[in-house]
């Protein structure tokens, strides 16, 4: 018995892998940046802010595209708890892709830092200076960053589980246009 799984649209796949590169880089830049006082601190900080804004823009585009085009259905035989985990983790991922950059932006605004991106692009503040908000948002940015790190690891683990163990075409729906076929074990 075979089952067809549709792919994401080409635009969705490009967005996914572009964001994957940005976010993976970002996790290491974020940790590296707060762990150094070397001259690289300055370019790391600018890169972090610039990539963060890029991720925010990409995530908003991606949300619109997702609402418009949806996602291929999960395999019918995927156990219900895994389906639930898949749906919930994607809500969380989207929330973090949008929330963490916004929180970072708000945090810099609340500290009254001028927000200057790569190439000297200036971004306006979205909050007034506030010690209370700065502390709140700093903590949120810090802990949500590590939470995103954990979520990304789970996402990669789940993707590999679909690709290598279940071989159910879910992984291929983000890598290729071809319909993936799956053969039930005898």
């Amino acid at each position: 018995m075979t089952e067809r799984t549709q792919s994401f649209t080409l635009f969705q796949r490009v967005l996914h892998w572009l964001m994957a590169i940005c976010i993976l880089a970002m996790l290491f830049i974020g940790v590296g940046m707060v762990s150094t006082v070397m001259p690289k601190y300055v370019p790391l900080l600018v890169t972090h802010k610039t990539l963060g804004m890029a991720i925010l823009v990409l995530a908003l585009i991606r949300l619109v595209v997702r609402l418009r085009y949806g996602a291929p259905p999960l395999p019918a035989d995927l156990p219900q708890p895994m389906k639930l985990a898949a749906v919930a983790s994607h809500y969380l991922l989207y929330a973090m892709f949008i929330g963490i950059p916004l929180i970072g932006w708000g945090m810099l605004s609340a500290a009254d830092y001028p927000i200057v991106l790569y190439g000297g692009i200036r971004v306006p503040a979205i909050l007034p200076q506030s010690d209370f908000l700065h502390t709140l948002l700093w903590n949120a940015h810090f802990y949500l960053g590590f939470a995103l790190f954990a979520l990304i690891l789970m996402h990669i683990a789940a993707a590999l589980f679909h690709a290598l163990i279940r071989r159910d075409g879910v992984f291929q729906s983000m890598t290729s246009q071809r319909f993936a076929f799956r053969t039930e074990p005898e």
Partner: protein, 297 residues
Amino acid sequence: MAEPVVEVRNLRKTYGPKVAVDDVSFAVQPGEIFGILGPNGAGKTTTVETLAGLRQADGGTVRVRGIGLQIATPEGAVWRSAMINAPVFPVSTPQAFYGLLEASKTPEAMKAFQAAHPELAGFGAWAGRKDWTSSYAEEPYHSLNAFVFVNAAGHEQPVRWALIPAAPAVTISPDELAERGPNYLEQEITERVRANPQRWTLRVTLAEPGDPTSDPTKAWPQDRRNVDVGTLIVQQIEAEPDGPCRDINFDPTILPRGIQVSDDPFPAARSAAYARSYDLRTAETKDYPRTKTGTRP
């Protein structure tokens, strides 16, 4: 409209064929510029003083004095600088500064550190002088670190800058200053500014090729070209708890277009350390309330 308090305009004219800084052309109106005068910046100065044996319990006797300055243009460009009155820094690298912190824990380690770091001598000679002044207004404030001015054509000119006081220095010995009480310097500047605005010239020193830009312990030769780019006029002193300086970070890497960090490793290290300091102190804001009602919480 009032006269600009700081005017930085068209430095192209003053630098001949080597156009250096024509991107750094702006005028700032009163009210758009503010700074903090005091015995310490983000903790670094305090540490330096403690190490040099200069800091006593009495706040009026501080040797290392500093100013944090923000210049903001109506277009949104921001320049922050944290400067101190010492003409050179004690050590050449952030690693050595960390070594100094570690060595300061015991006199023996400090002796060994001094032996291994002869570059301390320049700062030590300045710090050990007895001709102090009795006013923040009589002190020069130095960027210490080298930065790079970049013009529209991409030409890079390494610079250091300093605020040169208009007020003549009236020297005083450390002991005499100590007798005037713990808050003398704060009271003195407040009264002095209330009577008359205080002025400093913002002087930019242009490095020649080969001048040490990466080492803030090394002064540049005296004959280097200076460009006076503006005048800082202090018209009002506000108490720190309610003023505009307490809740911002005078991070020396916050630079407008046309000014960049150089190969001096300190601004990056200061930026990282000041950010941590800012994060910690804004988290403790409930222990440092504003004193006036109606100001922000």
